[in-house]
């Protein structure tokens, strides 16, 4: 009992040795690298990706997502602004070279209607046909319950895609 109590005490109140300081420094440095640059925690602000991702929800931006692959249609991605402190969370609906269009709330890519099972509430969106430029993808939020003028959507350079949500 005394030995166990001593072990518990040493675990929660370790002696301040140089080795402990090195270990704490190492953990702090690793945490800074990992959560600052590899797996960035974020909180969602806004409802443009509802119902898939709700306002106030918590997640991580996994930056290694596209290390060995390219973004694909239906991928939910994070798009950076000037940095990674504030990012957009959107879904890819069209790839480079494809023609994208909204007609009566339905998505058309290369004049073929695309099924969007993640969209639950859809207003009568209309967006004239346009081609996605080279090096870009077309992103839209899942929440189509607002007027298209009030929704941030459009072509984003693939270089701005920092990764995707972890779940």
């Amino acid at each position: 009992m005394t030995a166990a109590k001593g072990a518990i005490q040493r675990f929660f109140f370790p002696s301040l040795t140089p080795w402990l300081v090195v270990r704490i420094g190492g953990v702090a440095f690793f945490a800074y690298l990992f959560f600052g640059h590899v797996c960035i925690p974020f909180q969602i602000q806004g409802s443009s990706m509802e119902p898939t991702y709700t306002d106030g929800a918590f997640n991580f931006c996994w930056r290694g997502r596209y290390l060995f692959s390219e973004p694909r249609r239906y991928d939910v991605v994070t798009v950076r602004f000037a940095g990674t402190r504030v990012m957009l969370l959107k879904r890819i609906v069209a790839l480079e070279g494809e023609q994208v269009e909204f007609r009566g709330g339905k998505l058309f890519v290369n004049e073929e209607e695309i099924e969007e099972p993640y969209v639950h509430n859809c207003r009568n969106w209309n967006l004239s046909p346009r081609y996605v430029e080279q090096g870009c993808v077309f992103v839209v939020g899942d929440n189509r319950g607002v007027a298209i003028e009030n929704h941030s959507l459009g072509q984003a350079s693939k270089q701005r895609i920092t990764g995707g949500p972890l779940w």
Partner: protein, 165 residues
């Protein structure tokens, strides 16, 4: 006694270094300070009095070089503006809000020329309109500053299009 003198010496040196950094900030810190001031003057709290607003706008206009060029197509703003015009635009924009906060993130500063600074940043506006509607807009911006009389002033603002329709 020797240890005490050593500790005192180290403390004096540390205080001197800290003081030097505080009293003689780098140019980058001076530029960042201007953005902090702009955010402070642009912010609006609920129940803000007219005198307070006027004071903020007066301070805000002196952050800008004359003329200051603005390229903001989403807001139909383009061209050169005097300080007074900038303050007037800001005041009119603030009238639509009962509460407003302006924040700058990911501020990256470079100095392409002597007495010229270039900043790329993300600007975030959060607030509530007079009708109670919540507003949250985020934009990437590129800004040029010019040093005039030892002060960095905003010379050019441009909104960068992240999502192109």
């Amino acid at each position: 006694m020797v240890n005490g003198k050593r500790v005192l010496g180290i403390l004096l040196v540390a205080t001197g270094i800290f003081g030097a950094f505080s009293l003689f900030p780098s140019e980058e810190k001076k530029v960042k300070k201007q953005f902090s001031l702009l955010a402070e003057y642009a912010c609006k709290e609920e129940g803000e009095r007219i005198l307070a607003m006027a004071g903020k706008m007066r301070n805000l206009e002196f952050l800008f070089y004359e003329p200051c060029t603005v390229e903001a197509p989403p807001y139909s703003l383009s061209g050169g503006f005097t300080r007074g015009e900038i303050a007037s635009l800001a005041a009119r924009a603030r009238l639509n809000f009962s509460q407003l906060t302006l924040e700058f993130h990911d501020l990256s500063i470079s100095f392409p020329e002597k007495e010229k600074a270039r900043a790329v940043l993300t600007g975030s506006v959060k607030g509530k309109t007079m009708s109670g509607e919540a507003v949250h807009e985020v934009r990437e911006m590129e800004c040029l500053l010019k040093k005039s009389q030892d002060q960095w002033l905003f010379e050019h603002w441009e909104m960068v299009e992240v999502l192109k329709r």
